[in-house]
Amino acid sequence: MNVGAWRAMMLIVHRDLCLSFRRPEQVLQPLVFFLIVTTLFPLGLSVQLSLLRDMAPGVLWVAALLSSLLSLDSLFKNDADDGTLEQLALSGQSLATIVIAKTVAHWLVSGAALVLVSPVVAIGLAIPVSAFATMLLGLTLGTLTLSWLGAIGAGLTVGLRRGNVLLSLIVLPLAMPLLIFGAGATDRAISGASAVGALYFLASLCVFTTTLAPFAAAAALRIALD
């Protein structure tokens, strides 16, 4: 009896979460990187709250993008190296189903965790509490979109020995709209203006990548397996 796609996805998500929590350093490293980078800025700048507040959205989003990139390399690579990817490809499930499950699991341990610690960072960067909702929503949409973009990059570089540099070169230019509109939304929320336009744009990017990235990443994996 064949297993349905939903059940197969749940199995992969559960397995990947289980593997992540058995190696907590893999989950903690990007988070610690995020915390350290965002802490370095207030320490390095002069003690002017207004200057820090002006720079906070950019610092927050650049740190979030870079820390998300740290864990992207291992999205498919570990499974490709030990033969698991081949077994998954022969499981009777489509590669797109496998990509969706693995990307969701990756986002839960990287992007979602980063969103959860972002209020702590925001306080350190003097972002007012009134801007937290916009910041959290923007980061949720942004990190999810980045995971989808990263899935395409990880699929394209899975067969390369040192693919992480190329992965960054592929993903970072694609992530520029996220940085511009994400930081813009947080900036507008800090100044008390409406950030709805920027959030809508981030949401549209998220929907766009959620819809198409699984198929693009699946095609890249198919080439890597061939």
């Binding site: 009896m1 064949n2 297993v3 059940r7 197969a8 199995l11 992969i12 559960h14 397995r15 289980c18 593997l19 058995r22 190696r23 190296d81 030990d82 033969g83 698991t84 081949e86 077994q87 998954l88 490809a89 022969l90 499981s91 009777g92 499930q93 397996l225 061939d226």
Partner: protein, 188 residues
Amino acid sequence: MLKGVSLEVGPRELMHVAGPNGAGKTTLLRVATGLLRPEQGSVAWFGQSITQVQSEYQSALAYASHETALKGDLTALENLRYMVRMKRRATLTELRGCLDRTGVAGCADLPVRVLSAGQRRRVVMARILAASAVLWLLDEPFTNLDAAGSALMSALLEEHVGGGGMALVVAHHDLKLQATQRRMELKG
């Protein structure tokens, strides 16, 4: 790499593919799984191209490659649970039974990273058994197995083929089996 190669495996048949290193044995097996698409020619499952009946074909096959596809941080039972349940609903009792059958029941709850290479190969065999597949595609299944492990592997192959199954086995040495087997030698 493979030119003019043609083979057919039917129920109750075992095809042994032999040949020197680099002859294309693993490539042939990957083509048979559908992971590798041939530039020319085709792979058919009961007369239909495997690309047309991909889901049905993948449900019917169990593949063991050089890599074990086992996660060191998961236990042997967890490894089986996640991979086998991608294909079919299997109970934990069934999975433990398969580990017992391959002689690694005592390792069921141990992380795979602490198992020896031979024990890992037995866990892979348990995964093949648990898949309940008609067609076994095995790449050097005797690697890392001791004498008892090799005898067990041979017995499982004979049982599978005797029960109506099919097997395509890549091995560089002769298979000591009583079951009907055909041999194909790839030239380097």
